[in-house]
Amino acid sequence: MSITGAEALIKSLEAEGVEVIFGYPGGAVLSIYDALRESSIKHVLVRQEQAAVHAASGYSRVTGRPGVCLATSGPGATNLVTGIATAYMDSIPVIAITGQVATGMVGTDAFQEVDIFGITMPITKHNYLVQKAEDLPRIIREAFHIAQTGRPGPVLIDIPKDVSGAILAQYQPVTKVDLRGYKPTFRGHPSQIRNLAQLIREAEKPLIYAGGGTVRAGAHEEVLALAERINAPVTTTLQGLGVFPENHPLSLGMLGMHGTPYANLAVQQCDLLIGLGVRFDDRVTLSVEHFAPNAQIVHVDIDPAEIGKNVLVDLPIVGDVRLVLEDLLGLVEEKEHPEWIEEVRGLKKNYPLTYGHAGGDLKPQFVLEKLSELLRDQDWIITSDVGQHQMWAAQYGKFLKPNTFLTSGGLGTMGYGVPAAVGAQLGAPQATVVAVTGDGSFQMHMAELGTATENKLPVKILLFNNSYLGMVKQLQHFFVEGRYSGVEFTGNPDFMQLISAYKNACGLRISKPEEVEPVLKEALNNGKLTLIECVISDQELVYPVVPNDMGLDQMIFFPQEG
């Protein structure tokens, strides 16, 4: 039976188990949208293509399967770029499908033609410009294989209009992948793992530093088992939050520029730093010369190119972090470090994460503490945008499970939170999904309220409104002597009126601390798309701060701590 290229594409996506596509139609994807009508795949119409990638990313993080997004050629494709780069930096498997002008028109600067294949080369794990409809089933299979194996990442498939419209004699499913240039390593080298076991035996002050790689690899149980077995405290990166339960006595929360003081100090004092699925990002290490000065550094990662890229390590292990830990757990014995644990406990007591409760001011940190408390017994997911609110959410969210904090870390993309929440809610319909955002970030993708409304998604948007781009203002406060420039919003809308413009949506405002609990309770239980606006002071700052080029122990603390 003959079939169009577009139908072959959709059949191939169905064969991969795709249930949802986030997209935006256009002239170069007409036949793909036509084929979608006959498919079981649900199409979610976003309001701008960038939101489609973020939604696919949110969906992928909660389902563990690649998220799929679809856009037309030209501006549709270029609008995907920031989203793809965001997914690339955080290693999220996303399949981006774009329409392209017909092959005969490629290179002629035709209407809505752009070289998205060339543009996305440095921000995808791999990409394709499809030349023949016959290749589609193979390319889709390869793309899904590449996106979700090894170090995950986005793959883009650019499909010219005449390729999706071409007639194929028959659809030939492809199940096997044969890529001679792509053979990711999964098992770690046994002798290196033995060496790690030996280092652990010798260490007196071991510290585990777990990142997004442990989340992607599904290694949360192994991380917990290792920490308890060898009695080592655990600090996580922004992407690693939730891989180790933050209510565990060995948890130190997040490290880095705005990490907990005790996590940062523990890094500087430990004698063995076990980096798991991390990349020693500059927001984590700050000054590399001063990073973990007393420690032997171990780096376990699936991407060999990460090893030795930013920090010279004493023991590298390339492999899937879950499998490496599985092998390691067979080699290490129970160990106790009472003195080290006592030292860390002292750090927690003497250098707590704090924000001051002075006066009757509404503190964003307090709101987030309350939120985390109220969510504790539910199945929940927090997404965030980028800025001060993101750091407060990371510090006070108390994450207990992996993939419960979805945020743009590597690229730091404002506007990620709301569309990611849309994707997360579609991937986890039973979960309470809260997008923590600020007035700056929210306005980048607030049009997605329409997408949430259309799909009846009861997403909660917790908006901290200080009428400023708070994080940039904070940078200007600390690093350019308070010369504020371009950071004030004087034209913000009335957000309550804005949300009331959407059908069946609810707007709630919090301005006093005593309103926090009742309003959050109402919001979390009303089953509706809800915007909770917290009006906060523009003087509020994220503490601690480790300035660039400083060691992690050279923090600017919350003023009261001196």
């Binding site: 080369m121 794990k125 890529l179 001679r180 240039g181 890229k309």
Partner: protein
Amino acid sequence: MKHTLSVLVENKPGVLSRIAALFARRGYNIDSLAVGRTEDPAVSRMTIVVEGDERVIEQVTKQLHKLIDVIKLSDMTNEEYVDRELILIKVHADPTSRAEIMQIVDIFRARIVDIGRNSLIIECTGDGGKINAIENALRPFGVRELVRTGKIALARGQKQRD
């Protein structure tokens, strides 16, 4: 230090720009790059000469390995290998200087491949040192145009691709 990388890649559209873009994006300097088909028409070999210390070369090779279209890569610098470059030089040559130029061509075992009224095109192959030497020897006569291929290389002995 200069390193010679031999990279086998899929012979597909976009592969060269993928590799060139990787060098540009990560700030590595390509000294020369030569690319052509191998015994397998689906595979091309790129010989890339890159300047950098051990750490840079390690990153270059690891980042190249990550490209799906890169099949195999070896740093030949510390191996036994044969390398060649080809140069074509159009040199000014009037009746008074021709004899001397032809002598130089003989010494380098090069060849004259075109004769114009006042010029000669000379073809020469050899390793980088020899090519530099003939270029320098001919420069005083007046070089009008010149093109070099960049280095190509193969490991000596039994070693094969697979």
